[in-house]
């Protein structure tokens, strides 16, 4: 195949403890470490491995967000992507809008495969890949833990509630990645230097002509109710007596 398109979202790093702003208008993101969504990093790693096996020629990373996302795209280039497309957007957009914009991008790039994370760890929506595949009129294989390519067909093992489901999809297709698909590589310093010379194209989101406003809006944000403080017991007998008191065993 020729091109693999990988979609990267910039999110609050997964190690950051999230705090809701006192006025309920969102979560605190000022001065907080930002990273590539971990699932998207897995998506990029998979694309790079396909390319390194000689089964693809070109890996393009695409991201939507403020100019700052250049950092995450540069990280993607340092990991090994060939080029990057930065779709500049300074407002929050929904998964549907993101899918519509990515579709325009896909129409231009004509990839054989689009790979992205099954969900972003900020909004936890788990929608964009499915919406993109549907709008594109191409197959989706979500929650992938194994991807095998053979000619024009991808055989994908999916992590589902009942176990592992295997499906076959014709290419081009959209794959969303689960945690166990691979372990992303670490970026080495020389690669960071090399990445600076790679092509990073910036486009304004307005150029895509997609309506950005949303019919589902965010109202108030809250901190979840915390559980009451628990007790510590010293031995199994004490544990069992508490459980029996609560009629749990």
């Amino acid at each position: 195949m020729k091109t693999i398109m990988v979609c990267l979202k910039r999110v609050v790093d997964y190690n950051v403890r999230i705090r809701v702003k006192p006025d309920g208008s969102g979560v605190v993101t000022d001065g907080v470490k930002m990273s590539i969504n971990p699932f998207d990093e897995i998506a990029l790693e998979e694309a790079l491995r396909i390319k390194e096996r000689g089964e693809a020629e070109d890996v393009v990373v695409v991201s939507i967000g403020p100019a700052d996302i250049q950092q995450q795209l540069r990280t993607g280039l340092a990991m090994g992507a060939d080029r990057a497309v930065l779709i500049e957007c300074n407002e929050d957009i929904s998964s549907l809008t993101a899918a519509k914009v990515l579709l325009k991008c896909a129409e231009k790039e004509a990839p054989d495969l689009i790979v992205l994370g099954k969900q972003a760890i900020d909004d936890d929506c788990n929608q964009t890949g499915q919406m993109l595949a549907t709008l594109w009129g191409r197959p989706q294989a979500t929650f992938a833990s194994k991807l095998e390519l053979s000619g024009n067909v991808a055989k994908v093992t999916r992590e589902v509630d009942a176990g592992l489901e295997v499906i076959e999809v014709d290419l081009p297709a959209v794959i969303t990645t689960d945690l166990r698909l691979n372990e992303p590589r670490y970026v080495k310093l020389p690669d960071i230097m090399k990445a600076k010379k790679k092509q990073l194209e910036s486009v304004a989101i307005a150029d895509f002509g997609v309506e950005l406003s949303s019919k589902v809006t965010a109202g108030n944000w809250e901190t979840p109710a915390s559980r009451a403080k628990g007790i510590m017991v010293n031995d199994v007998d004490a544990l069992l007596s508490v459980l029996k008191e609560k009629d749990l065993v």
């Binding site: 999230i18 979560v27 890949g129 499915q130 549907t134 989706q140 589902v160």
Partner: protein, 312 residues
């Protein structure tokens, strides 16, 4: 009066309890009529089970060969066509619903509300974000169809005792052939299902190996409990992926959850926040799991599990 279409989840022979939990959520919207859509092949028995759920006004059955397996690409165009007459389209936030519902939403050209945990108004819903560390009130504009998935751990299954009208429905939607089902690889399900079990025993990295998990299974079997695991235990190959509990695994709400050798990463805690009682056993007194446990015991799980098993 608004109309809600609820997409039934089933395995070909049995209706999944996620359906009755989704119905419970939908029943929280005032002044609605609830219809359940069963897509399957030879699925009369499932339609019957759906018709027995309290609060269901009608069951629609789309019975055709192509619906024998749950492929989103095949089911979504049929649902989108049928959904034209509805104000709300709800599915469970299981891997089935997560795969399917965004495809339905895209065909209907509407945004989706994922993981409803509380209905706060006819068009407003609470949902967890950031692995449950923040709760967002999502509001859907008037005149827009509400397509949503329901966080099933937030709802009890509504009881049975109904006999709703069952009606066949057919769709003229063109179905693609670009996606083909191959197989489901499933561990023998001899233990209670994690998402419905009243008791769940879970093991983490502290269990140490696939073989060591045997003591976890033994205790679970003595209690009739389901068995779960942390991501670390799944990644290490101790157990299969379908046992993972947490942000990206299963979100569960048993009456009693016992965690052995699980440190308590926030991604895991997200999956158990709705448990009635959380018991944590870990040899590290500083383990994060103790922060949310109702009962904590510091000690060696290889001594504690056999002792528990013997004294129960």
């Amino acid at each position: 009066m608004s109309h809600v279409l609820i997409i039934a989840e089933h395995d070909g022979s049995q209706l999944n309890s996620a359906t009755a939990k989704t119905i419970n959520c939908a029943a929280g919207i005032d002044n609605t009529e609830l219809h359940v859509l069963v897509l399957g092949s030879g699925c009369d028995a499932i339609a019957q089970q759906a018709a027995e759920i309290a609060g269901v006004a009608k069951v629609l059955v789309a019975d055709r060969n192509e619906n024998a397996v749950p492929l989103a690409a095949v089911l979504a165009p049929q649902i989108a066509e049928i959904a034209a007459a509805y104000d709300y389209v709800f599915g469970p936030s299981t891997t089935f619903g997560k795969d399917l519902m965004p495809a339905v939403a895209a065909l209907l050209d509407v945004e989706q509300v994922s993981d409803i945990m509380e209905v706060t108004g006819p068009r407003s819903f609470k949902r967890p974000v950031y692995a449950g560390n923040a709760i967002l009130n999502a509001e859907v504009a008037e005149g827009t169809k509400v397509v949503a998935t329901v966080r099933t751990a937030s709802y009890k299954a509504v009881p049975t005792g109904n006999s709703a009208h069952i009606e066949a429905i057919s769709s003229t939607a063109a179905l693609p052939s670009h996606t083909r089902y191959v197989e489901l690889q499933s561990e023998a399900a001899e233990r209670p299902d994690l998402q419905t079990a009243k008791l769940v025993i879970s093991g983490g990295r502290g269990v140490g190996s696939k073989e060591n998990f045997d003591i976890v299974y033994k205790l679970a079997d003595k209690l009739g409990a389901g068995v779960g695991a942390s991501r670390a235990a799944v990644d290490a190959g101790y157990v299969s992926n379908d046992m993972q509990v947490g942000q990206t695994g299963k979100i569960i709400a048993p009456d009693l959850y016992m965690a052995f050798g699980i440190s308590g990463a926030i991604q895991h805690l997200t999956g158990i926040k709705d448990a009635g009682t959380i018991v944590a056993i870990n040899n590290d007194p500083e383990a994060a799991i103790f922060e949310i446990a109702d009962i904590g015991l510091v000690g060696d799980l290889f001594e504690i599990i056999p002792e528990l098993e013997q004294k129960l």
